[in-house]
């Protein structure tokens, strides 16, 4: 494990709440509000970790295990991700399958914890979450296949490594399509507009937020932190694809930071300028992302 890898793991642990803060600040500025401090999510997490938790009589061990396993799975997925072109902590051929399935595990336990409450609203949220996630899965794999074919590498480390900037020379259209597909997926997987509105107030229309209605205290802190970390992972992948590379370790770290925070600004822009889609239109968006990335793959395979 190189010092850069260690630094990236530290960034992965430290930065996710800041990314959420950037998203919210962007939205606030565009709406002409001052908005909460950029560091607000750190304060929230610290507050939640100090609190106790209230449990429903209906819940069992599944409800208590959900946030713990979910956070651990997302953090483990982070071990596999190469950031800024530096090698990841663990890398091997086909590791992105494990990456995708670890995110799947996090989703699975969150949905189970929601169903454990016996609340109709949480059942609704869990049903929507697993539906949209399973429709997003093929799109994610198609995007990753595009990256694999363009860079000639089968590991995340290779796909996002030094070969990626070079791949833009011969596979630019496909990579651009895949990047668009991945951005749509990042919005869908992280429960952002236009798929889900993190600020909505009506439980009937929520997806992710309604699943965690009954969690509190450290459990809720784990969930919020895990969700932020997942957004950060997608941001790191996307910024690497779009921004390419520069010489020197320091400059690439700066580029990584700028890219991830820029991703946060992008998410904030989308949220400011778009309304969320009707629930029955969301599958069309996800299938659209699949078709886009399938098209990118065909461009490379022809």
């Amino acid at each position: 494990m190189t010092p850069r890898t260690l630094l990236h793991l530290a960034l992965l642990l430290a930065l996710p709440p800041l990314l959420l803060g950037v998203v919210n600040r962007t939205k606030a500025v565009l709406a002409g509000r001052r908005g909460p401090p950029v560091l607000q999510h750190y304060f929230d997490l610290a507050k939640l970790l100090r609190k106790g938790a209230v449990y429903s009589r209906t819940t069992s061990w599944v409800f208590r295990a959900g946030p713990v396993v979910g956070l651990a799975a997302i953090a483990t997925a982070g071990l596999l991700l190469s950031m800024g072109g530096a090698p990841a902590a663990l890398t091997f051929d086909g590791d992105f399958v494990l990456f995708a399935y670890l995110l799947g595990l996090a989703r699975f336990v969150t949905a189970l914890a929601a169903l454990d409450t016996g609340s109709p609203f949480e059942g609704m949220g869990a049903a929507r979450e697993v539906t949209f996630a399973s429709l997003a899965e093929p799109a994610l794999f198609l995007c990753l296949l595009v990256l694999a074919r363009a860079t000639g590498s089968l590991s995340l480390g290779g796909m996002l490594g030094p070969a990626l900037p070079a791949a833009w020379d011969h596979a630019a259209p496909a990579l651009a399509l895949a990047a668009i597909g991945l951005f749509v997926l990042a919005l869908a997987e992280n429960a952002r507009i236009p798929v889900d509105d993190p600020n909505t107030h009506l439980e009937l229309t929520m997806i992710h937020e309604v699943m965690v209605l009954d969690h509190g205290g450290p459990d809720l802190a784990f969930i919020l932190y895990g969700a932020a970390m997942k957004l950060f992972l997608f941001g790191a992948i996307l910024s690497r694809i779009v921004l390419g590379h520069c010489e020197g370790a320091l400059a690439s770290e700066a580029l990584l930071l700028a890219g991830v925070l820029g991703f946060g600004v992008g998410v904030g822009l989308v949220e400011s300028f778009m309304a969320r889609l009707r629930m029955n239109r969301v599958p069309q968006l996800l299938v659209g992302a699949s078709v886009l990335s399938a098209f990118a793959l065909v461009l490379l395979l022809r």
Partner: protein, 658 residues
């Protein structure tokens, strides 16, 4: 030595039922003896399989038996599931209560196991077919255990019909092979060229014959009714290993040929992709726990076929890495699916035992009363959904890796990689489906009084489930050790020299070691996060438990919970093209609706929309034809003559003159 073990593995299970019948005066002793005999046979068989996978060879050509790596993989799976089911049956289907029915079950269970062991160890088509038919007929009687229930009669009839059509195709397969090779010995058939008309005929017939047994779409229609009707430990055997004999047969027959054309691989890949996606889509729509599990067997057989198709493509294009990854993924998934599917069926049996129902929407909250069952079932569910750190992930990962290797190759081979998103879709849907099962059955509040009073099954039923779950976890955490034996089996199947496969096998083993490192990291992080949560919560006094907050709803009842059907509705609506749903009832109308009722019934696209209408049309036609000829003897004779001329003349016109 290995042959002696093999003989024991065939004889002891076959005879175990006689002990149950002979000691019928003392049912507990009888059942215990039968179970001990069967377990001893299974232990011998598993030992023989392990020895062969470790590199030993066992051959008795004069008797018609030879165990190679391919057979050994299946043998280990068969023995593990058979033993677990037999122990479970001690309490689930007690001879002291069921008497004659239990004797019958034990008799045919033992025969089915013996038939399967014989067929995977056969070196000769006749022995293979004898084992095949013993297994099939024993299974027919096993499905018919509760012979007074219409559900069992229908399931058994469909099973018998499907298995006989399949056997007919297999007779043709082996007759053609015998004609070409001059012997029924597999060794004599080996090396036949696959390119010509013989290869094409044999392959297509084998795809139908073995596809019917394996339950590949569109030959899956018999599987859910039959598997749901049998007692649960029999369902575990049938879904866990009996369907795999179809996969074994397909591998065995394709293993005989040289110079495989690429379209064989493409055909198996297409069948696998269709089975994986359509199987899981149909599973999502089910209301009955055992039918749902049976449709997941269709899905998993599809995943196995994806691996096998990749292996065939690799052989066609001379790519050892594809051969190894495809075959190893398929073979490991055979074992893995045998383990977690039998675990899930045994869990379903425990639920039925405790509540008397398999209707998902009549259960709920069972995790409270059946804590151990819930944990074991959840392990099986996570494994079948392919989630790390369990075994289902490892075999799917090998298949994914095969698709990725194909992606890097030039030409049309790279297009095989589109199987990866299909597999991902099936994986996502399987996770959704098991979130539904776990949520509706084990979590929330009980929906009925039966679910309220659920209790843990006895230890004799829990122990085999715990053993299967432990095997799932062990394979998931330490898969690297399994790759070299699978590589040897791949060499046996593909007729490639072992040294060509050694390189890819080492690479796959290294990757598998990394997978287990990540799995351990995941467990460590879970432990760390759990410890942190404990510390934080211990710092504060525990708050009293309250009612779930249903957005201010003050009098929640269990009926406001999401049901299994409502949970799956969003996804089932996306798959309407594959999942026909019949809706009945009156929807509420007008400002003051009087009565309203609504029910949905999920149809099988092949059985209900194609086979049943075709059979009805055929009956209608036969009725018409019968009315035609009853009047006059002359007319009848004329019809007979016309038919004869048509039948004989057809041969003259159609058959190519040599």
């Amino acid at each position: 030595m290995i042959l002696a073990c093999l003989a024991g593995a065939i004889a002891l299970p076959a005879l175990s039922g006689l002990a149950a019948a002979g000691l019928a005066r003392r049912p507990a002793l009888a059942q215990g003896t039968a179970c001990a005999l069967l377990c001893a046979g299974a232990a011998l068989g598993a030992g023989a399989g392990a020895a062969v996978l470790a590199g030993a060879r066992a051959e008795a050509a004069e008797l018609g038996f030879r165990l190679d790596g391919v057979g050994a993989v299946f043998l280990v799976a068969i023995c593990a599931v058979a033993a677990a089911g037999a122990v479970y049956g001690l309490r689930y289907h007690r001879q002291a209560e069921a008497r004659g029915a239990a004797v019958r079950v034990q008799l045919f269970y033992g025969l089915a196991v013996a038939g399967m062991v014989a067929l995977v160890a056969a070196s000769n088509a006749i022995v293979f077919l004898v084992g095949w038919e013993v297994m099939a007929l024993a299974n027919f009687f096993l499905v018919l255990t509760d012979h007074d229930r219409p559900e069992a009669q229908r399931g058994a009839f469909l099973f018998l019909m499907a298995t006989h059509v399949g056997t007919l195709a297999l007779f043709a397969v082996f007759a053609l092979l015998r004609q070409a090779a001059g012997s029924f010995d597999f060794a004599a058939m080996a090396g036949l060229p696959a390119g010509g008309a013989l290869g094409t005929r044999v392959f297509l017939l084998a795809l139908v014959g073995f596809g019917l047994k394996a339950g590949l779409v569109p030959f899956h229609f018999w599987l859910p009714p039959a598997h749901a009707a049998a007692p649960s430990h029999v369902s575990a055997l049938m879904s866990g290993v009996v369907v795999k004999t179809g996969i074994y047969g397909l591998l065995r027959v394709t293993g005989l040929f040289d110079g495989i054309p690429p379209w064989w691989g493409a055909a198996v890949l297409a069948a696998g992709g269709a089975s994986a996606v359509i199987g899981v889509a149909l599973a999502l729509a089910q209301h009955d726990l055992k039918r749902l599990l049976a449709f997941h067997t269709v899905e998993n057989v599809g995943i196995i076929a994806l691996g096998a198709g990749l292996g065939l493509l690799g052989r066609a294009r001379g790519e050892p890495a594809l051969v190894l990854l495809g075959f190893a993924g398929a073979a490991l998934h055979v074992v893995n699916h045998a383990l977690f599917k039998s675990l899930l069926f045994l869990g379903a049996g425990a639920i039925q035992h405790a509540t008397g129902t398999r209707e998902l929407d009549r259960l709920g909250g069972l995790a409270r009363g059946m804590r151990a069952t819930a944990i074991l079932f959840a392990i099986g569910a996570a494994a079948i959904a392919g989630l790390p750190p369990l075994n289902g992930f490892v075999s799917e990962w090998l298949v994914y890796l095969g698709f990725l290797r194909a992606l890097g190759r030039p030409g049309g081979l790279a297009f095989a990689a589109v199987g990866a998103p299909l597999l991902a879709l099936a994986g996502g849907l399987a996770a959704a489906c098991f979130a539904k099962v776990l949520g509706v059955v084990f979590l929330g509040t009980p929906r009925t009084a039966e679910a309220e009073g659920a209790h843990e099954p006895p230890g004799v039923m829990l122990a085999p489930m715990a053993a299967l779950a432990a095997a799932c976890a062990a394979i998931g955490l330490a898969p690297a050790a399994l790759v070299p034996p699978l590589g040897r089996a791949a060499a046996d199947w593909s007729r490639l020299p072992a040294h060509l496969l050694a390189g890819p096998a080492e690479e796959a083993a290294a990757g598998a070691a990394r997978v287990s490192a990540v799995a351990l990291a995941l467990l460590a992080l879970v432990a760390a996060a759990w410890a942190l949560r404990r510390r934080r919560l211990a710092a504060r006094p525990a708050a009293p438990a309250v009612e779930t907050w249903s957005c201010g709803f003050s009098a929640p009842t269990p009926r406001i919970q999401y049901t299994g059907s409502s949970f799956a509705e969003l996804l089932v609506a996306r798959f309407r093209w594959a999942v026909p749903v019949r809706r009945e009832g009156e929807l509420p109308r007008g400002p003051f609706p009087a009565t309203a009722s609504f029910r949905t019934h999920v149809l099988d696209p092949v059985l209900d929309l194609a086979l049943v209408p075709a059979a009805l049309a055929y009956r209608w036609l036969s009725d018409r034809a019968r009315r035609l000829n009853v009047r006059r003897i002359q007319l009848q004779m004329l019809l007979v003559l016309a038919t004869l001329v048509a039948v004989l003349g057809w041969g003259f016109v159609w058959w190519p003159i040599p």
